[in-house]
C-alpha cells in the first residue's frame, strides 16, 4: 500500500468559482477547460501509470462547514491501479484521506446513474471513466448548472420534476383480456424505442445543455427522450400520442432545442438524444400542432 499523503489542502484561488449563491454554489463551468478536456488528446499511457500515483483535484463545498463555505479544490494523490476509474479514485481518496469527501455512487457499473460528474470539463459517469484515458491531473467537479448540495453532490429535484412532467408511464387502459394475454408489439417497434429506454437518469445531458442552463423550465433532453419513448411505443393509442406531442411542443419543449448535440455527446448510454428531439419536432409538425 502507498504511503502517499494528501497534500495540504490549499484552495487554488485561480480555480475557485465565483461567489456562490445563498442556497448553494453554482458549480463552476470553465469554458477553456471544457474544450481541452473533451478532446483528451494526450491521454496518459497506462503502462506509464502502473505503480505511480495520480493526482486528482476535487471540488469541495459545504454550506455548513466554515472552511468549505467558500468553494475550493482539494488535491489527492491516489495510487494508480490498472482498471482504475474516476469513481475508484474518489472512493480511494475518501476512504484513505478524507472521509468527508462526498459524492453519490452505488452500482459501480453504469446502471444507477448516481455519479455523473464534471471530469476535465466534460460530463461523465465516474464509474465508467478510466483514469488512464484522461489527461492528468484530473479535475473532478459537480455537474454544472445544478445547485451544489455538498462537494460533488448536486440537487437533482429539478431534473426529476422535468422527468415527471412528461407523464412518464404507459397510458393504455384498454388491455387485452383473457389468461396471460399480452399486448403485442412488433420487433421493429421495440427496436425503435430501444435506445430511448436505456436512460439511467444521470442528468449529464441536462447539465451539458446551454438551453437548459438559460431556461429553467426547458424540459431538457432526458425528459423529451422519455416522452419519445412512449410517443413512439405502438402500445399507446393515437390519441395518447397527440396528448404527448402537445406536452412536448409547449413553450419550453422541443422547439427550444437548437441541435447543438452536447447532450448526445455526453450521454453515457449513447442515446441519440438530439435525433429523438428532432424526430418529435417533425411529428409535431405532421400533426399540425402549434409552433412556438
Amino acid at each position: 500500500m502507498s504511503t502517499q499523503q494528501q497534500e495540504p489542502e490549499q484552495p487554488e484561488s485561480q480555480e475557485t468559482p465565483k461567489d456562490p449563491e445563498m442556497k448553494g454554489a453554482e458549480s463552476p463551468v470553465d469554458e477553456k477547460e471544457k474544450e481541452t478536456g473533451e478532446i483528451d488528446q494526450t491521454t496518459a499511457d497506462e503502462t506509464e501509470l502502473e505503480g505511480e500515483t495520480v493526482l486528482i483535484k476535487v471540488f469541495r463545498y459545504d454550506p455548513e462547514v466554515a472552511d468549505k463555505q467558500e468553494p475550493r479544490f482539494d488535491e489527492f494523490h491516489v495510487p494508480f491501479e490498472k482498471g482504475m476509474t474516476v469513481l475508484d479514485a474518489v472512493m480511494y481518496a475518501r476512504d484513505h484521506y478524507d472521509s468527508s469527501l462526498t459524492f453519490r455512487h452505488s452500482c459501480r457499473q453504469a446502471v444507477c446513474g448516481s455519479d455523473a460528474f464534471f471530469v476535465n470539463g466534460k460530463q461523465r459517469l465516474g464509474c465508467k471513466t478510466q483514469m488512464a484515458d484522461l489527461e492528468h491531473p484530473v479535475r473532478i467537479e459537480p455537474l454544472p448548472h445544478q445547485e451544489v448540495v455538498k462537494d460533488l453532490v448536486v440537487d437533482m429535484d429539478h431534473f426529476y420534476d422535468q422527468m415527471h412532467t412528461v407523464e412518464p408511464y404507459l397510458q393504455q387502459d384498454d388491455l387485452p383480456t383473457g389468461d396471460l394475454e399480452e399486448q403485442r408489439q412488433s420487433r421493429e417497434n421495440r427496436e425503435k424505442i430501444k435506445m430511448s429506454t436505456r436512460c439511467i437518469w444521470c442528468g449529464a445531458c441536462m447539465s451539458s445543455c446551454n438551453i437548459a442552463a438559460g431556461d429553467n423550465e426547458y424540459l431538457g433532453p432526458a425528459a423529451i427522450n422519455k416522452a419519445y419513448r412512449f410517443a413512439m411505443d405502438d402500445r399507446e393509442d393515437e390519441e395518447v400520442k397527440e396528448h404527448r406531442l402537445r406536452i412536448i411542443e409547449q413553450e419550453h419543449g422541443v422547439w427550444r432545442c437548437q441541435t447543438q448535440f452536447s447532450c448526445t455527446e455526453v450521454c453515457p448510454k449513447d442515446i441519440p438524444l438530439t435525433e429523438h428531439i428532432q424526430e418529435l419536432k417533425r411529428e409535431a409538425v405532421k400533426k399540425n400542432l402549434k409552433f412556438w
Binding site: 459545504d62 482498471g83 484513505h96 448516481s114 464509474c127 403485442r184 429506454t197 439511467i200
Partner: protein, 612 residues
C-alpha cells in the same frame, strides 16, 4: 412525525411492487429509500424473469426445477406460490409497458437459462432489471405514491415483549440524508422491509455499494430470525477491480479459463472433466480459487478468461456488451488480451424469515425481495428466479399489509414448538453485542408496550442521541477501516471454501470488528449529506449480518448448494434437511433449526441428486 398506513423501506423491484400493490388495495402507502428509486440495484440485473408462460411449460415444471436447484432446501409452498403467480405478475409488467424483447408474433421473448427444463426466462435485452425497475417506478409516479428519497432508515419502532412472536412493529426511524434530520414514520398497518442484498459484507461483490444488509440487521435486532444466511452465491466471472459481472454467455460461446501457467485448468487439473468451463457456478468458482491458492493465479489474485480465439466477428456479433464492460470497468480490450476474472459474491439466498404473505413473526413487520427468505432459493438460486420473487412476494406483502386476505400461510415463522435448538457447535468467541454499539435494536429499557406513538417517539429520541454521539465524538476509529477488515475476513474465510478453522477465524475477526466499532466516530462535522455518518451506521449493520453468515457457515457441516464444508463434503440429508435460523436475543445470537417443507400442494419433492 410522518404517518401512513403502510411504510415500505426500500424502492428496488420488491419495494416498488409492494407499494403499488398496497396502493391498489386502498392503503395510504409511502416509500422510504436511501437511494432515489431508479438508483436501486435491481437495475443491474441482466438475464431475465422466469415465468411459465408458454405452451409446453407450466408452473409445476418451474417448481420442480426450482426445488432441484435449491438442493432441496426451499419450502415447497413458497416455491409453488412463486411459480404459480409469476406468469400473471410478469404479464402485468408487460401491461405497464415494460419493453420486453419480442418474438416474430409480437409476444414477449423467453430464453433458456441454467437449471431450467424449459426456456422460460423472460427478458428485455441484456438489461431486464433496468427495465423492470423503471417500469415499476413509472407506476409509482402514475399513482402519485409518496416517495421519501434519500432518507436513511436507521431502525424499527417495535414493542419489546420477551417473546418476539408477541412484538408489534409500529414504524421506522429515518434521517433525511440531505439535512441530517432524524424523524419518525408511523405505520398504522405495516412496515415492509425491501432493502436488498448484503453483498457489501464481502470484499469482492457484484452488489452495489448500497447493498449493506440494513433491513436484515434491523429485523434481526428487533427479534425476527434470519434464515439460511450461510447460503451465498458466488459468481465465477466478475472483474477483479470492481466486481462487475461478466455473464456466463462468454463461456457459453466457448470462452476458456486459463491459469498463470497458461493451463486450461478446468480440464488439466481435473475440476470438471466433462463440462469444463461450463460446469456449475460453484464448481468453477472453487476451481479458480484453488488455482490462486496453489500459486497458479495471475498476480496471485485472478485467472484469465480468454475469448480471443472466437474471432472478432463472432465476438462483436454475440458478445459485444462484454467488450464494453471489460473496457469501461477494467481497461482491458477483450479482442487483444484475455480478461481477468475471479469469483465474486453475487446473491444471498437467505434473509429475514417470512411466510408466503411476506410476514415475519413480528406483527406488522414484513420483508420482501433479496432481504427476505420465504424460502424459494434454498441452498442455491437459479438464474432468473430473483426477479420473479421481487414481483410475486413484493405484491403479496403489499396486499397483505394493506389488509387483503391472502389465506392462511403454511410456512411458520419465529421460535416455536416445531424448531430444534442448536446444541453441538462450539463457538470460538462470544458473538453478539459488544456493549455500547448503538442500542440492542429493540428499545431497551422495558415497558415498551405503550401506545404506538410513544414507542416511535422514544425510538426517535434514542436515534437522535446515537447520531449526536457519533458526530460529537472526535477521535477513534473510522468506519472504512473496520469495514475493510470485515470484508477481508469474510472473503478470506467465508468464501466459496469453508473450513471449520477458517470460519472460526472469521468469527474472531468479526468480534474484533465489533470491539473496534465501540470506538468508531464520524469525522465529517456536517449534517448536510453526511455519507460518513451513513456508512458508519451501515458498517454496524454489516457486522451483524456478517456474523450471522459466519455462524450459519460454522454450524452447517455439510455441502449443499452454494455452501461447501471441507469436513463433510456431501449433502447430508439425514441431518440437514432443515433451515438455519438465527435470532437476536438480549444481544446474543440464538441458533435453531426448522424442518424444510418438501410437501407441495399435491406432491412431495423427493430429494434427488443435483446433477445436470
Amino acid at each position: 412525525m410522518y404517518e401512513h398506513d403502510v411504510i415500505v423501506v426500500g424502492a428496488g423491484g420488491a419495494g416498488l411492487r409492494a407499494a403499488v400493490a398496497a396502493d391498489e388495495a386502498g392503503a395510504d402507502v409511502a416509500l422510504v429509500s436511501k437511494l432515489h428509486p431508479v438508483r436501486s440495484h435491481t437495475g443491474a440485473a441482466e438475464g431475465g424473469i422466469n415465468a411459465a408462460l408458454r405452451e409446453g411449460d407450466d408452473w409445476e415444471l418451474h417448481a420442480y426445477d426450482t426445488m432441484k436447484g435449491s438442493d432441496y432446501l426451499a419450502d415447497a409452498p413458497a416455491v409453488e406460490t412463486l411459480t404459480q403467480d409469476s406468469p400473471e405478475d410478469t404479464i402485468t409488467l408487460e401491461h405497464w409497458g415494460m419493453p420486453f424483447s419480442r418474438e416474430e408474433d409480437g409476444r414477449v421473448s423467453q430464453r433458456p437459462f441454467g437449471g431450467l427444463s424449459f426456456p422460460r426466462t423472460t427478458y428485455a435485452g441484456a438489461e431486464t432489471g433496468h427495465h423492470l425497475l423503471h417500469v415499476m417506478y413509472e407506476q409509482v409516479v402514475k399513482r402519485g405514491i409518496q416517495v421519501y428519497d434519500e432518507w436513511y432508515v436507521m431502525d424499527l419502532a417495535t414493542t419489546d415483549e420477551d417473546d418476539p412472536n408477541e412484538r408489534e412493529c409500529h414504524g421506522v426511524v429515518a434521517y433525511d440524508v440531505q439535512s441530517g434530520n432524524v424523524e419518525g414514520f408511523k405505520a398504522n398497518d405495516g412496515v415492509i422491509l425491501a432493502t436488498g442484498g448484503p453483498g457489501q459484507a464481502f470484499d469482492h461483490t457484484t452488489n452495489a455499494v448500497s447493498c449493506t444488509g440494513d433491513g436484515h440487521a434491523m429485523a434481526y435486532r428487533a427479534g425476527a430470525p434470519l434464515e439460511d444466511m450461510e447460503f451465498i452465491q458466488f459468481h465465477p466471472t466478475s472483474l477483479p477491480s470492481t466486481g462487475v459481472l461478466i455473464s456466463e454467455g462468454v463461456r457459453g460461446e466457448g470462452g476458456i479459463l486459463y491459469n498463470n501457467d497458461g493451463e486450461r485448468f478446468m480440464f488439466e487439473h481435473g475440476y470438471a472433466n466433462n463440462d469444463g468451463e461450463l460446469a456449475s457456478r460453484d464448481v468453477v468458482a472453487r476451481a479458480e480459487l484453488t488455482e490462486v491458492q496453489e500459486g497458479r493465479g495471475v498476480n496471485d489474485e485472478y485467472v484469465h478468461l480468454d475469448m480471443r480465439h472466437l474471432g472478432e466477428e463472432r465476438i462483436l456479433d454475440r458478445l459485444e456488451n462484454i467488450l464494453h464492460l471489460a473496457e469501461d470497468f477494467e481497461g482491458v480490450d477483450g479482442l487483444i488480451e484475455p480478461m481477468p476474472v475471479k469469483p465474486g459474491q453475487h446473491y444471498a439466498m437467505g434473509g429475514i424469515e417470512v411466510d408466503e404473505n411476506g410476514q415475519t413473526c413480528i406483527d406488522g413487520l414484513y420483508a420482501a425481495g433479496e432481504c427476505a427468505c420465504v424460502s424459494v432459493h434454498g441452498g442455491n438460486r437459479l438464474g432468473g428466479n430473483a426477479l420473479p420473487e421481487l414481483i410475486v412476494f413484493g405484491k403479496r406483502a403489499g396486499r397483505h399489509a394493506a389488509g387483503d386476505d391472502l389465506g392462511e400461510p403454511q410456512i411458520r415463522t419465529g421460535y416455536g414448538d416445531d424448531v430444534e435448538d442448536e446444541t453441538d457447535t462450539e463457538l470460538p468467541v462470544q458473538p453478539g453485542s459488544a456493549g455500547l454499539d448503538g442500542s440492542g435494536g429493540v428499545a431497551a429499557d422495558g415497558g415498551m408496550t405503550a401506545d404506538a406513538e410513544g414507542i416511535l417517539e422514544r425510538q426517535v429520541e434514542s436515534a437522535r442521541e446515537h447520531v449526536d454521539y457519533l458526530m460529537e465524538k472526535d477521535t477513534g476509529v473510522q468506519h472504512a477501516e473496520i469495514r475493510q477488515k470485515l470484508q477481508n475476513a469474510m472473503t478470506d474465510y467465508v468464501n466459496v471454501f469453508r473450513t471449520e478453522e477458517g470460519v472460526k477465524k472469521a468469527l474472531k475477526l468479526i468480534r474484533e470488528c465489533r470491539e473496534e466499532y465501540q470506538d468508531v466516530y464520524v469525522d465529517d462535522p456536517s449534517r448536510t449529506f453526511n455519507t460518513d455518518l451513513q456508512q458508519t451506521i451501515e458498517t454496524r449493520n454489516l457486522i451483524d449480518v456478517a456474523e450471522t453468515i459466519a455462524l450459519g457457515a460454522l454450524v452447517r457441516n455439510e455441502f449443499r448448494g452454494a455452501h461447501w464444508r471441507q469436513e463433510n463434503q456431501i449433502r447430508d440429508d439425514e441431518n440437514w434437511l432443515k433451515h438455519t435460523l438465527i435470532s437476536w436475543e438480549e444481544g446474543e445470537p440464538k441458533i435453531f433449526y426448522r424442518p424444510v417443507i418438501l410437501e407441495g400442494e399435491d406432491k412431495t419433492y423427493e430429494p434427488k441428486d443435483r446433477s445436470y
